[in-house]
């Protein structure tokens, strides 16, 4: 196993150990309340529990699509982190979401994201949202993420 591979493996192991922490440090993720549940190489799973404060359709009591945007955007970014050989910050370039069917009221939504291709500066992702399985999907997403150049530590407020 070469060194770069093991660096990615170490990062994936670190992500697994800090699945709660990965959303705890993101205020908007804390607000929507989604959790990361599984991390594999290039793939991340999560769950958005049903929550009344996220409802967008008052009559049907269904969570607004925006909560699915948040879930799939964040999981897709994490899938990039779980596939880049060297650690880099990524930023969403674009995200397309297609809604196949409305979510059921009162039910958790499972999200699954994969990073399927990486170039020097861009990572490409696909993601799914569903209740039970990808056979009956609520929404699919396709994203592109810019891979940022490494930042000097000082710019992050970390002493050299």
């Amino acid at each position: 196993m070469d060194e770069s591979t093991s660096s990615l493996d170490k990062r994936i192991e670190l992500m697994r150990q800090h699945m709660d922490g990965m959303t705890q440090v993101v205020p908007w993720a804390r607000e929507t309340g989604f959790k990361v549940t599984r991390v594999e190489r290039g793939q991340v799973w999560g769950v958005q529990p049903f929550a009344e404060h996220l409802v967008g359709d008052v009559d049907a009591q269904v969570i607004h699509g925006g909560a699915i945007t948040t879930l799939l955007d964040n999981l897709s970014g994490m899938a990039c982190a779980a596939s880049l050989e060297e650690f880099r910050f990524v930023a969403t370039l674009d995200l397309r979401i297609d809604y196949m069917r409305p979510a059921d009221s009162g039910r958790d939504i499972i999200g699954e994201a994969e990073c399927y291709h990486v170039t020097k500066s861009v990572a490409f992702t696909r993601a799914w949202a569903y209740h039970e399985s990808r056979d009956k999907v609520i929404a699919t997403a396709q994203g592109a993420f810019a891979i940022n150049k490494p930042r000097p530590k000082a710019s992050l407020g970390v002493p050299e």
């Binding site: 993720a29 607000e31 967008g56 925006g66 955007d73 674009d94 979401i97």
Partner: protein, 145 residues
């Protein structure tokens, strides 16, 4: 009843009842069929606090709501439209400041509509994000004579 309320008043009344709008803290400024939405900055909207950037999901939610609100404003449907798909382009980092949004209905058909929306902060010519979306108009309750 609703006939006596303007479209803008109906929209305002509707938005007040939508929990996600309240969670975001989103407001809208309506003048006739013209609307600007506002997302006042709050810490909870942040996605990355090492660089104090707004979360892409919060920006996307705000833009999707802005598009839906504008569509409601210029159409005559009883209920808000349903999203078929959206594409959000993230053009610049959303700073820890208020975010503004405007949408334009490109095509209003009988069953579907195409809408674009843009969000910006201190400079209107430097958009933070842009949305393109298709929506299904909810005419189920309509009674044609």
């Amino acid at each position: 009843m609703s006939e006596t309320l303007s479209r803008g008043q109906q929209l305002e009344g509707f938005l007040k009842r939508v929990p996600i709008v309240q969670t975001l803290g989103m407001r809208c400024d309506i003048k006739g069929d013209d609307m600007t939405t506002v997302l006042p900055f709050q810490d909870k909207l942040i996605g990355n606090f090492t660089i104090k950037a707004l979360h892409g999901g919060a920006i996307g939610t705000f833009l999707e709501m802005t598009a839906m609100a504008q569509l409601f404003l210029v159409s005559d449907v009883e209920r808000p439209a349903r999203t078929i798909n959206i594409t959000v382009d993230y053009l610049r980092q959303g700073k820890a400041e208020d975010l503004y949004g405007r949408a334009r209905v490109i095509k209003l058909g009988r069953r579907m509509a195409s809408v674009t929306a843009e969000a910006w902060q201190s400079e209107r010519d430097k958009p933070v994000a842009a949305l393109n979306g298709h929506f299904l108009l909810n005419r189920s309750g309509e009674q044609n004579s």
